[in-house]
Symmetry: C2
Subunit: 193 residues, 2 copies
DNA sequence: TCGTGAAGTTACAGATCGGTAACACCCTAG
DNA sequence: CTAGGGTGTTACCGATCTGTAACTTCACGA
């Protein structure tokens, strides 16, 4: 049975994949390494042979999810090569899509909230990855030909971030339901300058 | 010394106050009941004489913070009696103020993220309180005379929610720095219809 | 075929967690 | 003065947590 837990996948990759999923669903402090290794069809010793500590695993998971998000951006360029405005609209659609399916929000933002210790090693990684995503959205807005690209990108960022957390506190019928309308309205109003 | 921990304050109130503060700073799963009672200058037994469980304490803390937020709203009405538009601007200023000082975001949203169990008793309380706050902002927008009051209120909600979480992942120099500009621009554009 | 290294297994250490039992204390209302 | 309720203290339970040690098993390549 190709259930992805055993098969021909290296234990390290199974652990990484399973940890991403479980951290996302139950939160970082809500899942222990025992539960991860068991779900990954392996054991604790193997985990600690591949990762220095749980914190190290957390960081690798964050990098992996950021890498997946990066692949999404590449898909926009592939689908609408050169047409940056179309890519921006695709970004909005994709964001909205994730708002309905994935109801547990952004892993990096959630981690930033959960890991309140200011010196936690994951915090600098989170900032690093989030900063990169911000720059990418700013560039997309700029190249899409809107004035005040930074302001539009930051506004869209906050809207999406807010929608993701709102989804978790009040559900899908809350303010996040209007995300697409808000985002498209903003883009239109920034375009018209 | 009136440090608020002993004095003439009932143990229950000291625990509630201390727990609010510590949950806010370190997160719910990041602080144990022992730490709370010690910081409150009392002990675990006294805590469990006043609260059924830690979950019960969490819920009472959320209600208390929501009540404080409600007091802020009343202050707006007191300061600008009848002038709903001025109250809306005051809301924006207050929100921005909390974005710089209080760097750990909204307790209810943070709790919703931390308590990922869908059947956690605090979740319904969070939704209940957040829904009430939403309704209050919608009413304020409506009475301030803007068209599409719900859409403006929801957009402002998402912006603030997003700013609060962004503050924790990328810091004060991130997108949240532009919150006032975004919010005021939105209000102006909704007014001009 | 044999050796090597990765992976699985079991057991454990040490700490922390939420929650409870039993008992001593002290302030205050009657 | 006295009785009682709220409080403090200590010790404990059982569960769970991260992380490690020692040993066995297995697959693969020379």
């Amino acid at each position: 049975m190709a259930d992805g837990t055993s098969e021909r996948v290296r234990p390290r990759d199974r652990i990484l994949e399973t940890a991403q999923d479980m951290f996302h669903k139950h939160g970082i402090k809500g899942v222990g390494v025992d539960a991860i290794t068991e779900a990954a069809g392996t054991n604790k010793m193997t985990l600690y042979r591949h990762f220095e500590s749980k914190d190290d695993l957390i960081i690798e998971c964050l990098r992996a999810t950021a890498s997946k998000a990066g692949a999404m951006w590449d898909a926009f360029e592939t689908e609408y090569p050169g047409d940056k405005l179309a890519q921006l609209h695709a970004w909005v659609r994709k964001a909205a899509e994730m708002l309905s399916a994935d109801s547990r929000g952004c892993d990096m933002a959630n981690a930033a909230i959960e890991l309140s210790e200011t010196d936690h090693p994951a915090r600098r990684v989170i900032k690093e990855l989030k900063d990169a995503q911000r720059e990418r959205l700013v560039n997309l807005c700029r190249e899409a030909g809107v004035g005040q690209a930074e302001l539009l990108a930051d506004t869209l960022s906050l809207l999406l971030e807010g929608a993701r957390v709102s989804l978790q506190s009040v559900g899908a019928e809350g303010p996040s339901a209007q995300f697409v309308r808000m985002a498209e309205g903003l883009i239109a109003s920034f375009k018209a300058r």
